[in-house]
């Protein structure tokens, strides 16, 4: 049952609900945990956010077209192993980083080719490559973990630029680019057209297959980049990098108002979704000190948010 979007009057209302929720959570947090809202501590704690955030950009575009990419976590794992392997054999950080990004790109391109050329359902394709990429990473690395990449490299994750963490700066630049692409360029609008009605999009001359191919390839490349940042942050590269990330990223994107059936979603919405999840996590783990509670809260948040949206939009329509 696709979300038909409805009138202009409430086009942004999902984002509004999430923003209000976010403000409530922040208020609540500031009241419970003194010093929680200070910019300094927020920036310090934001380090865990950036890999997710980068993956979420690509995922938003894919879900807008009605697809899904379950393989991003596994792609991160494979890219990390390639990074470690190349670094330990050649000793060059530059070569290793390029290999890492190239691996992500190739993984994404394989997904894209299977989805667009063979017209397989994205869920099936990425379920297969989810197993395959992780499997190749595990088989190739044999459980070995690479580390000691040097301080210069860990600056990629730990360094800062004008007071903003470097990965954060990268993310903000990319997010701006993606948001402009999505809302201002014809190709961005094509994505919504594909998500609403793929057939109609095709008949109106949009090269659906080519766009799909490039979307999955981009998602793979972003996974490579996320993997690079992750490896820099922990200074270890092993096969289980990014395990379980795919579901968290999808949670953030859907929470941010992107319709899982396609045709609806925005980059600012995704950023709100990411922030809401991030702040909730921080609050729960800071105040109650419990990681288990965290996942319960986020799981319920996802279901309740989407349920509330469905109920309200149904009432509006009738």
């Amino acid at each position: 049952m696709p979300d038909t979007g409805g009138g202009r009057s409430y086009a942004w209302w999902h984002e509004t609900v999430i923003a209000v929720l976010l403000v409530i959570v922040l208020q609540f947090a500031g009241w419970l945990v003194p010093g929680f809202l200070k910019l300094q501590s927020q920036l310090l704690l934001s380090r865990q956010l950036w890999e997710f955030a980068i993956l979420a950009l690509g995922m938003t575009l894919i879900i807008i077209t009605g697809g899904i990419d379950l393989s991003v976590g596994s792609t991160m794992g494979l890219s990390a192993v390639v990074f470690g392997g190349v670094h330990s054999s050649s000793g060059s950080l530059m070569a290793a980083s390029l290999a890492c990004l190239a691996t992500g790109l190739c993984c994404g391109a394989v997904n894209g080719a299977l989805v667009s050329r063979l017209r397989l359902h994205p869920l099936i394709v990425t379920l297969a490559t989810f197993a395959a990429y992780r499997g190749i990473a595990e088989g190739w690395s044999q459980g070995h973990s690479y580390s000691r990449f040097g301080d210069a490299f860990s600056d990629l994750a730990r360094g800062s630029w004008l007071g903003v963490p470097l990965p954060g700066a990268i993310f903000v630049l990319m997010a701006t680019g993606f948001a402009v692409f999505l809302s201002k360029t014809p190709y961005g609008r094509f994505l919504y057209a594909i998500g609403h009605n793929e057939r109609a999009a095709k008949f109106s001359g949009i090269s659906v297959n080519r766009i799909r191919f490039w979307l999955y390839t981009t998602s793979g490349l972003l996974a490579g980049l996320a993997s690079l940042i992750y490896v820099a942050r922990f200074d270890t590269a092993q096969a289980d990098v990014g395990k379980g990330f795919e579901l968290d990223v999808i949670t953030a994107v859907v929470l941010g108002g992107t319709s899982i059936y396609g045709g609806r979603g925005t980059i600012p919405g995704t950023m709100l979704g990411l922030l809401l999840i991030h702040e909730t996590r921080l609050l729960v783990s800071r105040y109650w000190g419990s990681d288990e509670l965290r996942s319960i809260v986020i799981g319920c948040l996802l279901i309740v948010a989407v349920l509330a949206c469905q109920l309200v939009s149904r009432k509006r329509r009738s």
């Binding site: 049952m1 009605g66 379950l70 299977l114 063979l118 017209r119 397989l120 359902h121 869920l123 099936i124 394709v125 379920l127 297969a128 490559t129 989810f130 197993a131 395959a132 990429y133 992780r134 499997g135 190749i136 595990e138 088989g139 044999q142 459980g143 793929e198 057939r199 095709k202 659906v208 579901l247 999808i250 949670t251 859907v254 899982i260 059936y261 396609g262 419990s290 990681d291 288990e292 509670l293 965290r294 996942s295 319960i296 809260v297 986020i298 799981g299 319920c300 948040l301 996802l302 279901i303 989407v306 349920l307 469905q310 109920l311 149904r314």
Partner: protein, 346 residues
């Protein structure tokens, strides 16, 4: 590519009457899977003939059992056009509940109460999922994604960082040795498969699930209740997950909170590889079961290939390759069937 084509295409290269060709087309997926299974067994068997012993296959079937049980339920969910990716976390939660109830160190409740309660809880959570999907109109992938996270957290909370051991002697004995020499999980799986098969082929309810999946609109016009059918499909999956937990978990030395992680993806993979259309309305039980066997036999097969530790690490890669082989060959085949102008069903 050419390899995968020969896997499936050579069966109907001869010109035959339409109905025969039609049945062959339907059986394509099963034939391909059977071929993959036998090929794998032959390759491993040539390497080490002990692979064909009864014990090995008994072990493989025991490993298959929980996946097969749950896959029967998830298959029906997918047939109605929905999806359930929460079964792994549900399994963990039920294992924790059951463990805490039955363990001699915890509440030490009798099995006669504990097991029905576990089954009931599983069904209840399944029905709850179904009600969110059918009445709340939340997409099933989102509901079950949320539950996947939430139930896993609940499990860890319930276990309180400890493992549960010392389940009652009787239960572990039955689970390990089984009944008349047949492991209890295999018996349970056989029962569930029989039940599901009867449900699909001989009871109107089963046909209605397929009808709902192939066209919700027509099903509604024919007077079928979408809500009730979906409640049933999800409730049945919950019940089967509880059953799988009860027969499988007592075999393990202890219950950890990580039980069943990524089980949901394995089950969905088996359902999809078995030829059930993700858009609903079609799929055969036998294909799903063959896919379960294929996915499960890879690890035991690799241990027989005599490449030691290194081999087992490749399990997942080979799994992924088999999935790709199955779906790609299928798509190449169906591509030639319909003319290439058609947009794939989203």
């Amino acid at each position: 590519m050419s390899n995968s084509q020969t896997l499936t295409v050579d069966h109907d290269s001869r010109p035959v009457c339409f109905s025969t060709r039609f049945f062959r087309l339907i059986r394509q997926r099963e034939a391909g899977l059977l071929l993959l299974i036998s090929l794998t067994s032959v390759v491993v068997g040539i390497h080490d003939v002990r692979f064909f012993s009864v014990d090995v296959w008994r072990d493989i079937l025991v490993r298959c059992a929980p996946t097969a049980i749950v896959a029967c339920g998830v298959m029906l969910v997918v047939v109605t056009g929905e999806i359930d990716i929460s079964v792994g976390s549900l399994m963990a939660l039920l294992a924790a509940v059951m463990g805490r109830m039955l363990s001699e160190q915890e509440f030490d409740i009798s099995c006669w109460i504990g097991i029905p309660v576990t089954l009931g809880l599983g069904t209840l959570i399944g029905v709850f999922t179904g009600s969110l999907v059918s009445m709340g109109r939340v997409p099933s992938i989102i509901v079950t994604l949320g539950l996947l996270t939430a139930l896993r957290g609940l499990t860890t909370l319930m276990m309180g960082g400890k493992n549960i051991d010392r389940l009652p002697e009787g239960l572990t004995q039955v689970a390990k040795q089984g009944f008349l020499g047949v492991p209890i999980s295999i018996l349970a799986a056989a029962g569930v498969i029989g039940l599901t098969s009867v449900l699909i082929h001989h009871i109107p309810l089963g046909r209605r699930l397929y009808a709902l999946g192939s066209s919700a609109e027509s099903a509604r016009m024919a007077g079928l209740s979408e809500v009730r059918l979906k409640l049933f499909a999800f409730g049945y999956t919950g019940f089967l997950t509880a059953l799988a937990t009860i027969v499988d978990v007592p075999r393990l030395p202890k219950i950890e909170s990580g039980i069943g992680s990524e089980f949901e993806l394995l089950v969905v993979t088996c359902v999809v590889v078995g030829g059930v259309a993700i858009s609903g309305g079609q799929g055969r039980l036998i294909g799903v079961l063959l896919a379960v066997v294929l996915m499960t036999m890879i690890r035991p097969a690799l241990t027989f290939m005599d490449i030691g530790e290194a081999g087992e690490k490749w399990t997942r890669a080979i799994q992924g390759m088999f999935i790709l082989l199955a779906v790609v060959s299928d798509s190449l085949f169906s591509w030639r069937q319909r003319h290439s102008g058609k947009v794939h069903a989203a």
